[in-house]
């Protein structure tokens, strides 16, 4: 195994191939606080990519309710249990990654889901972490019972476990954008990637008898457009762009700004050691221990920063740009009350007001003699 640097762990770690970062890396930020679990993203993906035979059960994009939702069942809980203690100290991970915890003769520690583990994609939907008894409440920020929605796609990891576990080298990471793909002409259906990916984002097609995975809508990415699950998101929780390494972070790159500068968006289970490139704004109402387990030790600080967005024009402006354009936002700025986004080639994409103008009308319309509804 090679020694590589994983900036999410704050240390070097073992991986099956030497560090080889792409020219630019596909990345995304999901704001979990805004997701309403409408599954429009899942359907947008489904109808675009997985409506063939053998793909019936596949959800390259899925949305599950945490803590009791899983697709497939127990995907994270089973691995967390197998991995052993996952301690952090001063931002450095002290436990073992899935590569470092590999049993003898294996490339990593993983597990192979059964067919029926995929049969309940809505398992645990809307179930809260505790009973909501009389007098209890589910109000954000003061909840004594909680749940939240985790929208998940392939993380197009910097150190992909799917790629490392394929004995045929059928999986590759594209130099131009870091998207991880399975060579559909070369895969022989060994299902090692299904066993290996801790996020369970490779899928076995029992009809073609090969494996398939989220392709980040690369035909759209190549044209400067965001993937289908981003463009169709009702909650405007998502933004796709490019992430740099921390030392090369740019303040005007929206992903860099949220991930490296403000540290308000965090990786999903960084302790697995894959350096996943989909970053999450953690839900503000969830107890810190659960968030630290899921998003790493930066979760409490990320929530503080997120709460300050109401008084932070740049942060608020950037979140306002989410979902306002189908194009990939490569650069942004907030000038006065306006947030501006530019595309990959420097072209201006969109301008939006940081605060939408609000007019409050009198509740009674004198001229028509009817009551009025004020709709925000």
């Amino acid at each position: 195994m090679a020694r590589v640097f994983n900036h999410q762990l704050g240390r070097v770690m073992s991986y099956w191939f030497p560090e080889n970062r792409p020219e630019r890396q596909f990345a995304a930020v999901f704001d979990t606080n805004k997701c309403i679990a409408c599954q429009t993203c899942s359907l947008a993906c489904k109808t675009t990519w997985t409506s063939g035979r053998g793909q019936e059960y596949m959800l390259w994009n899925n949305v599950e309710t945490k803590p009791y939702g899983f697709y497939p069942i127990g995907w994270d809980a089973r691995l967390l249990e197998a991995l052993g203690p996952q301690a952090w100290k001063d931002g450095v991970y002290e436990g073992r990654t899935i590569f470092e915890a590999a049993p003898a003769g294996e490339r990593l520690i993983g597990f192979a889901p059964e067919e029926l583990d995929y049969a309940h994609p809505n398992l645990g939907e809307d179930e809260s972490a505790a009973a909501v008894d009389k007098g209890a409440h589910l109000i954000a920020g003061r909840a004594n019972a909680w749940m939240f929605y985790a929208a998940r796609i392939c993380n197009h990891c910097t150190y992909p476990a799917c790629l490392a576990s394929c004995p045929r080298g059928s999986i590759y990471k594209r130099r131009e954008d870091g998207i991880v793909l399975i060579d559909q002409g070369r895969c022989r259906g060994y299902q090692e990637c299904v066993r290996g990916c801790p996020y369970k984002k490779t899928f076995f097609n029992p009809v073609t008898r090969t494996s398939e995975k989220c392709i980040a809508c690369f035909p759209k990415i190549e044209r400067g457009l965001q993937p289908q699950c981003f463009a169709n998101c009702i909650g405007k929780i998502r933004s796709q762009g490019w992430v740099s390494t921390p030392d090369a972070a740019r303040e005007d790159n929206p992903i860099d700004y949220l991930v490296h500068v403000r540290k308000v968006a965090l990786p999903l289970y960084p302790q697995f050691g894959l350096e996943p490139n989909v970053y999450y704004v953690p839900p503000v109402h969830v107890p810190a221990p659960f968030l630290v387990q899921m998003f790493g030790p930066g979760a409490p600080a990320a929530i503080e920063t997120y709460r300050s967005a109401a008084h932070d024009r740049t942060l608020a402006g950037l979140f306002t740009l989410f979902g306002c354009t189908e194009s990939t936002i490569a650069r942004f700025a907030v000038r006065g009350d306006t947030a501006i986004a530019w595309g990959n080639d420097g072209e201006e994409l969109v301008r939006v007001p940081v605060r939408e103008p609000v007019t409050i009308r009198a509740p009674w319309d004198e001229s028509l003699a009817v009551p009025r509804w004020n709709i925000p």
Partner: protein, 357 residues
């Protein structure tokens, strides 16, 4: 009594059988029964005589028992061990049926199976210890008959479900200069013929197969199902099966409708066709040939698989398998229930393969 005996030989009692002190009569108390049996006391016999009689009779008894036991345990002369796969020539077509009587005449070599423990993912445990290999050669093919124990029958491929399988590996170049037995080397390729139970038993109608496995599954629609023109429908269906559209040779063996002309590589082989030919130049390099030339068939007998794989003889004498050449073969076995697939397998070393002229 002991006082009477006190006058007898000075030699301690434990070394010599007690002899009658007055050489006249035996005492059942002093002349122990075993000695009485061996040398019944005769009046007047001298002590030396009695000792001699006992000695010679004990000796004879030993000699006799040794002779008897030797006669019992002596193994029959061992048959010469089968240390190479000697292909027997048959005038007609060598049978693909592994139970055909023609196989009885072919000597079977028991080849030890080893766990693949060189590259990750490794196979941790060696399951079945040996694979029995026989071979017959006819006008154009060498047919291997491979028999091994596998208590679980795995004839399907699915999510987390793997097929039983077996493979024959030959060097591409004929002769004794063979590459690594583990998938060959970059400049010394090997050819591999792989049989899978799931290929032999692939369902003719994939829709019915899926419905049978998941009777309660509801499928809204397939986009291609709406196309009225069958050619258009099939062309669309291939587009919705990405590996098929990419011409992946594995999908040729999958339960899919054949591609319309101009789409997705070679047409699927006929139902029941179960062998794929491939070339490898080291670990992870297995590359299926576009058109399989070998064929094979597997049957179950009790807890055992009996699989035949027929490989066409090479046209050129410098390629294997060629008539009249001594070369090598290696074998591999996958047990689906043990999640054996790809690198997780049992394999053999090279064994000599002799093909008659």
């Amino acid at each position: 009594m002991r006082t009477v005996l006190g006058t007898r030989s000075k030699i301690p009692l434990r070394f010599w059988p007690p002899i009658h002190p007055h050489r006249r009569r035996c005492s059942s108390l002093t002349y122990v029964r075993v000695c009485s049996l061996l040398a019944p006391c005769r009046r007047g016999a001298s002590a030396a005589r009695i000792r001699k009689t006992i000695f010679s009779r004990v000796l004879a008894a030993f000699a006799l028992s040794a002779a008897v036991s030797c006669a019992k345990k002596a193994p029959p002369p061992p048959p010469p061990p089968v240390t190479e796969v000697q292909a027997g020539a048959v005038p007609d077509r060598a049978p693909l049926d592994g139970l055909d009587a023609a196989w009885d005449a072919a000597p079977e070599m028991a080849v030890p199976l080893l766990a693949q423990d060189v590259v990750e993912p490794k196979q941790a445990v060696a399951g079945t210890p040996t694979i029995g290999v026989r071979a017959l050669i006819d006008g154009g093919r060498v047919v291997f008959r491979l028999e091994w124990t596998d208590g679980t029958e795995d004839r399907e491929v699915g999510l987390g479900r793997f097929s039983d399988a077996v493979a024959v590996q030959l060097p591409v170049a004929a002769g004794g200069d063979v590459p690594s037995a583990q998938m060959g080397e970059p400049d010394k390729p090997v050819r591999i013929s792989l049989w899978k139970a799931a290929w032999q038993d692939r369902p003719a109608d994939v829709g019915a197969e899926q419905a049978g496995r998941h009777p309660n599954a509801a499928i809204d629609h397939y986009p291609f199902a709406a196309a009225a023109d069958p050619a258009v429908r099939e062309a669309m269906e291939v587009r919705y099966a990405p590996a098929r559209a990419a011409g992946n040779p594995v999908t040729v063996m999958a339960p899919l409708p054949g591609p319309p002309p101009g789409h997705g590589g070679p047409p699927p082989p006929p139902p029941g066709f179960a062998v794929q030919d491939a070339v490898a130049r080291g670990f992870g390099t297995l590359t299926a040939l576009p058109q399989p030339a070998s064929e094979g068939h597997g049957v179950r007998r009790g807890e055992r698989w009996i699989v035949t794989i027929a490989i066409p003889l090479a046209a050129a004498p410098e390629e294997a398998p060629a008539r009249g050449r001594r070369t090598y073969a290696a074998f591999a076995v996958w047990d689906g229930s043990a999640r054996n697939v790809g690198a997780r397998k049992l394999r053999t070393n090279w064994v000599p393969l002799v093909l008659p002229p």
